[in-house]
């Protein structure tokens, strides 16, 4: 997995609550058997009209947001399905960090498996970042995972929380299957004990 340490980039404002996984990547794009190539269909139904032409008003279609690396959004981002195609599409577009007041659990978890950092901040701080993001390419937002901070170009700094294990994996770009396999002895021991206790499983 790709490491995430620091990021300084353009942030795009999406001031909507409940942005769901069907909006992030509609189901017609789930028919792929690959993880890559979904970026062009990120937010497909908001981004393109019925003829497949770009809708100029949609934030990521605006010239100043084409290189967006950070998304600032409303409450409950990523609600809906477990489809990992949602973070795959976000990553493939070039976005490495999503900042919102809250996230849906499965989506939040899926981000970390794909080198994306989801950051939950209080509404007031998200509001400030939203304003900052509205300045487009004139304002770069900085994210430092090691220090656990988000900074605006005006020098405002917000601290965020992140699970220590998830942070470690993201900083080092670790593959968690490999990490778990190092604990195979514990799994073997558990399995033997569980099979005795619950042989019907």
């Amino acid at each position: 997995m790709e490491k995430f340490e620091k990021l300084s980039g353009i942030a795009a404002p999406m001031p909507m609550i409940n942005i769901d996984t069907d909006m992030i990547i509609p189901k017609q794009f789930l028919k792929t058997i690959k993880r890559s190539g979904l970026g062009v269909n990120l937010f497909d139904e908001m981004r393109y009209d019925d003829d497949g032409k770009e809708i100029p008003d949609f934030v990521l279609n605006k010239p100043q947001y084409r290189e967006t690396q950070i998304l600032i959004a409303g409450d409950n981002f990523g609600c809906g399905s477990s489809r990992e195609h949602a973070p795959w599409a976000i990553k493939d577009f070039g976005i490495r960090c999503v900042i919102a007041p809250s996230f849906a659990d499965i989506f939040y978890n899926n981000c970390f498996k794909n080198g994306i950092l989801p950051i939950a901040l209080p509404q007031e701080q998200v509001d400030i970042l939203m304003k900052e993001a509205e300045k487009g390419a004139n304002a770069r937002v900085e994210v430092d995972l090691e220090a656990q901070t988000v900074s605006t170009s005006d020098g405002e700094v917000f601290a965020f929380e992140v699970d220590a294990f998830k942070k470690h994996c993201l900083l080092e770009g670790l593959d968690d299957i490999g990490l778990t396999m190092e604990k195979a002895a514990s799994i073997d021991a558990f399995e033997a004990k569980a099979t005795q206790a619950r042989p019907w499983v």
Partner: protein, 468 residues
């Protein structure tokens, strides 16, 4: 010993390893797999020369994009990319030696219907699937939740999941339900109260008289939508109804093993003085038959209410409500019972079981679908379909003017050809009314099977109580 919730008990019985920081490896008893979220996971195994650690605990079935038309054996009814996904699952199931119900098998159906039906889902188990509605299996008192594809790969390779424990939330529905009110109305009403993020970070246990009174199928409907309330998992403590449902199922234990299982299952309940991080209580008698009006499952109102206006809300919900109203093409103040529909979809893992079909048939018997309405019933599995035919329900549906389909997810997420056109308004028994969920521009109103059947007859959202 300190008192525990049901969630605590199942969790404690499955921790295979705990790190100092509280990160756990949770052992997984059942892993359900379908064609859409698994190909990349199997590809990952191949690329790293890993195998499936416990193929006997892994069950696969194609459901999301299989056609449900009677001619589906004809490969031409499937789009190229759908066919590739189903073929990939065929191959992966064979190569890795996991249990498999191919499209041609009468037991094929929606993964969350097949699991319980075949006795794979049992009380006290940990169950995962690359699908958020895995919460359904919580109806058995199993800790069941959806996972992403990376986690599918992780479970395939290690039979464990990296997890931190969630918080405990109790949702109690006291007393009795009124006539015409169903499990679907309970689960939608709970989301109406908690909001779609109210359960984030929690495992919900549903309890109270109205929950105990539900059949196993009704309980599955309730738990199915725990995820719409933000909770990864919903639970209901197992009881005699649960045990009776499980007994004799193909993969349920038998003989002495059954007795041993039963003895453990009977310990699976929340202790009286267990700690809850959050409690929500609803009175059963206060719950009405409901429908959704917007594009979030929390946009729930009794069928007797009017379409709200954006100014009824506060905060970020004002804009969201306005966006929903525009998308749904609804005018504030209109009685919901005057909203005309184009299509009726009865099916999905929320409401595609035999009791759901019986409830719909009870309303439809001897009646006709209103002229011009497209109406389809998609049973949740081949066995549900067969039983509905045996009970004569299929004839009632066909005589009423419904299409009678083969099993699959169908118009719940419209990955197969069953889709809404832009602006088409649908009364649906599925679980999500998101923009574009049932087809680009399609408008979805969620409700119970009986309510959907009533809507098919009148051509409008309808209070089923007027037909009972």
């Amino acid at each position: 010993m300190s008192p525990k919730t049901l969630y605590d008990k199942i969790w404690d019985a499955h921790v295979a390893h705990e790190a100092d920081d509280g990160t756990c490896l949770l052992y997984i008893d059942r892993h359900l797999v379908h064609e859409v979220t698994s190909p990349q996971a199997f590809e990952g195994l191949r690329m790293t020369n890993r195998t499936v650690r416990a193929p006997d605990k892994t069950i696969a079935v194609p459901d999301h994009n299989v056609p449900t038309t009677l001619d589906r054996a004809n490969a031409a009814t499937m789009t190229e990319d759908s066919r590739i996904q189903v073929e990939a699952l065929d191959k992966n199931a064979k190569d890795f030696g996991i249990h498999y119900y191919p499209v041609s098998d009468v037991r094929q159906g929606i993964v969350h219907i097949v699991g319980p039906e075949q006795g794979w889902t049992l009380p006290g188990m940990t169950v995962v699937c690359g699908d958020s509605h895995t919460a359904t299996h919580g109806a058995f008192g199993a800790l069941a939740h959806g996972i992403g594809t990376s986690e599918v790969e992780h479970v395939l390779a290690t039979q464990t999941l990296i997890q931190r424990k969630g918080k405990n939330m109790k949702v109690e529905i006291t007393g009795k339900l009124r006539p015409g009110v169903t499990a679907k109305d309970i689960t939608l009403s709970v989301i109406g109260v908690t909001g779609t993020a109210g359960g984030t970070g929690y495992v919900i246990e549903y309890c109270g008289e109205a929950i105990r009174d539900l059949s196993m199928e009704g309980r599955m409907t309730v738990c199915n939508m725990a995820i719409e309330g933000g909770a990864r998992a919903g639970l209901i403590a197992p009881d005699e109804k649960t045990f009776e449902y499980c007994m004799g199922r193909p993969h349920a234990p038998k003989g002495a093993q059954w007795e041993a299982a039963l003895a453990w299952w009977k310990t699976l309940y929340s202790d009286d003085d267990a700690h809850w991080d959050k409690v929500v209580t609803l009175k059963g008698e206060d719950i009405a038959p409901v429908v959704t009006w917007g594009t979030s499952p929390e946009d729930v109102l009794p069928i007797t209410a009017n379409v709200p206006s954006a100014s009824d809300f506060t905060g970020g919900k004002v804009d969201a409500a306005q966006r929903s109203l525009d998308y749904m093409g609804l005018t504030p103040g209109t009685p919901l019972s005057e909203v005309e529909i184009d299509t009726v979809f009865i099916g999905s893992c929320t409401n595609g079981r035999i009791e759901d079909l019986r409830a719909a048939a009870a309303i439809l018997k001897g009646k006709k679908v209103k002229d011009g309405i497209r109406a389809m019933i998609v049973p949740g599995s081949g066995l549900v379909r067969a039983q509905a035919e045996e009970e004569g329900l299929a004839d009632i549906f066909k005589e009423a003017g419904f299409e009678w389909r083969l099993a699959g997810c169908s118009m719940c997420l419209a990955m197969n050809p069953d889709q809404l056109s832009p602006g088409e308004r649908c009364a649906a028994t599925s679980n999500r009314n998101f923009e574009g969920r049932q087809g680009r521009g399609g408008r979805t109103h969620l409700m119970s099977p009986a309510m959907a059947a009533a809507a098919a007859i009148t051509g409008k959202l309808t209070d089923v109580r007027e037909m009972m």
